[in-house]
């Protein structure tokens, strides 16, 4: 039976293309999650749930509908392939593996050194670029010799070898391999264009325009992306990034010589590449707050709510920078099946994905089928309801009544305790607790 599952990635990730093209050949069904609300690069892939399945937090990552998880783009592409793509004899399979590794070890490093400065995501170093150009010339020469007498890399049909190498060469052909440079490598270009024009490649890559003029280092773009990067490093994001930082610092800082560390730099670069121009932070107008929501969320997720998380909350809660809200679903009489009501709540959470850094909530469903109600307690940045700040957030909130809570009132204390622990009398509701959902 054909493989089916979910592929997590950021948009336009050439590494993910490998699996997607292979799936076009095999008929594997891949659901791509690359954009909010389902997947937010740098956020979803750092979440504990994600790291549990994919400890490195790298994308692309694949999760089969049967629960099978695998990371590393080549492994994913291999998994979703057919026997023909993998190579059906031991020799063919070895040859396929040879070219897949060749792409990663001989093409990608010099390609990145050369291409990324032209995209403004890596500093330009003339010497490094010139060395990279020569390396690219060398690997294209090797490929050209091989493809002189061959239509595809292995055997007489498309294999994973072709898929991997085309994807590895994609940026080169788009950015810097102008007609003069690629001229001597006609066999490579013939093969490359043929692959691009196979319906299975086209379905994933669309129309690819080959480079007409060799792109040069873009100082302006570079400055912009650096500024973005710096901004990303500011707190409260710092905690998120922390897991990536330490191994880098162990390396002695290199002098002027800026030969990028292929793999690592590449991923950093790709992250920047993937980061869409950052939308303005809707909370930018607020003064800094000492209350660190992430800190509380960690306590809430990992430790006892009543004895640790709640005391922590009240100790650190900043009533100037944050507010507490009680919400109630306006149309309880329309709620029928409980699972549908739950979807209503989780759907709202998903649509509020980008609010997660600035809000926390516990929303609870009470009662049973055809006799239920929904209410919850929200912790939110600022003193106003945040939903109006972004059009994405306005879908659901009007279906609820909102009441601001006074953090000093006894009512507020007991609501927070009951909703955060999902325990207590919930006297204001009049229906028994059914289930709760946490927005974090």
């Amino acid at each position: 039976m054909a493989v089916s599952g979910t592929l997590y990635t950021y948009p336009e990730n050439w590494r993910a293309f490998k699996a997607l093209i292979a799936a076009q050949y095999s008929g594997a069904r891949l659901r791509v999650l690359s954009a909010p609300p389902h997947f937010t690069f740098g956020h979803t892939n750092r979440s504990p749930q994600f790291l549990k399945k994919f400890p490195l937090g790298k994308v692309p990552a694949f999760e089969g509908d049967d629960g099978f998880c695998v990371f590393e783009s080549n492994a994913i592409a291999y998994y979703v392939s057919t026997e023909e793509l993998r190579g059906s004899t031991p020799e063919a399979a070895a040859a396929v593996l040879q070219w897949v590794n060749f792409a990663d070890s001989d093409v990608v490093p010099p390609a990145s050194t050369w291409v990324f400065p032209t995209l403004g995501i890596l500093h330009y170093n003339k010497q490094a670029t010139e060395v990279a150009k020569e390396e690219v010339r060398k690997v294209l020469g090797v490929l050209d010799g091989h493809l002189r007498t061959r239509t595809f890399l292995v055997g007489e049909r498309v294999s994973l070898a072709d898929i991997s190498l085309v994807c590895a060469l994609l940026w080169l052909y788009k950015q810097v391999l102008d007609p003069a440079f690629r001229g001597p490598f006609g066999n490579v270009t013939r093969w490359f264009l043929t692959c691009l024009n196979q319906p299975e490649f086209k379905a994933v890559l669309g129309e690819v325009q080959l480079c007409q003029r060799m792109a040069q280092f873009d100082a302006k773009k570079f400055a912009e992306s650096q500024a973005r990067k710096e901004k990303d490093k500011e707190p409260p994001k710092k905690g998120d990034k922390g897991d990536k930082e330490p191994p880098k610092k162990e390396k002695p800082p290199r002098k002027e010589e800026k030969r990028p560390q292929p793999e690592e730099e590449l991923d950093e670069c790709e992250q920047v590449l993937a980061a869409e121009p950052k939308a303005k932070d809707p909370f930018a107008h607020l003064p800094k707050s000492p209350f660190v929501l992430d800190e509380f969320k960690r306590k809430y997720s990992n430790e006892d709510t009543l004895s640790v998380a709640l005391p922590h909350f009240w100790e650190h809660f900043d009533r100037e920078g944050w507010s507490l809200w009680y919400c109630q679903y306006r149309y309880p009489e329309e709620l029928s099946q409980t699972f549908m009501s739950c979807n209503l709540i989780t759907g709202m959470f998903q649509r509020l994905d980008k609010l997660r850094k600035n809000a926390f909530a516990s929303v609870v469903l009470f009662g049973k089928d055809h006799d239920s109600s929904i209410s919850g307690v929200w912790v939110m940045r600022g003193q106003e309801l945040a939903f109006t700040l972004c059009p994405d957030w306005q879908v659901d909130y009007e279906s609820y009544t909102w009441r601001k809570l006074d953090p000093d009132s006894a009512e507020c204390r007991s609501l927070v305790a009951e909703y955060f622990t999902w325990e207590g009398e919930f006297r204001h509701v009049g229906k028994p607790f059914n289930q709760g959902k946490i927005f974090k």
Partner: protein
């Protein structure tokens, strides 16, 4: 010299490749032995190109005739070339010209028309088979692009059938061939 695949034999190869049930009776007409097919409920079809295109449509594999207008035209072009030049020519000189033409055309292409396998590749393969069988290693090296294309097409599933497998050396033997 190997015998050329022509007329009914070629069309029967095509039928099998297309997965058609077969059973068509082909005749030949005139001095140049033009193939003829009498259909059940229509007029008789005459000529290789016409009958081949008919079989392709019958098999509902229209993509073999090209997808875009340009591709369709180029498929037609090579079918015409096949009928007029490959079938027409028989001298050594003719053969050399054909191989030279094709070698140039295939330098930056994998298939004759566009980027996909079409009827042009199939019929050119059948038309050239008897020529390629007789080429020396040096000639195969000289017409390198034709060799690469021919080898690819003969390995295309279902194309070669009972025809002999022409062997090509993939590593350069004579570095001074060009």
């Amino acid at each position: 010299m190997a015998a050329a695949v022509r007329g009914a034999e070629e069309l029967e190869l095509l039928e099998r490749l297309l997965g058609l049930p077969g059973g068509n009776k082909y005749g030949v007409q005139g001095e140049r032995k033009v193939p003829v097919l009498q259909t059940n409920n229509g007029p008789g079809l005459r000529g290789l190109m016409t009958i081949a295109a008919h079989l392709v449509r019958q098999a509902r594999k229209d993509q073999l005739l090209g997808s875009t207008a340009e591709e369709k035209a180029v498929v037609q072009q090579w079918l015409e070339y096949r009928v007029t030049r490959v079938n027409g020519g028989s001298s050594k000189e003719d053969t050399r010209t054909i191989l030279k033409d094709l070698n140039m055309h295939l330098e930056d292409k994998v298939y004759l028309a566009g980027n996909i396998f079409t009827l042009a590749d199939i019929l050119m393969y059948y038309g050239l088979h008897h020529i390629m069988v007789d080429l020396t290693v040096q000639e195969k090296e000289k017409y390198l692009n034709v060799s690469r294309w021919f080898n690819h097409i003969q390995h295309y599933p279902g194309v070669r059938q009972h025809l002999s497998d022409v062997v090509f050396v993939k590593n350069r033997l004579y570095t001074n061939a060009h």
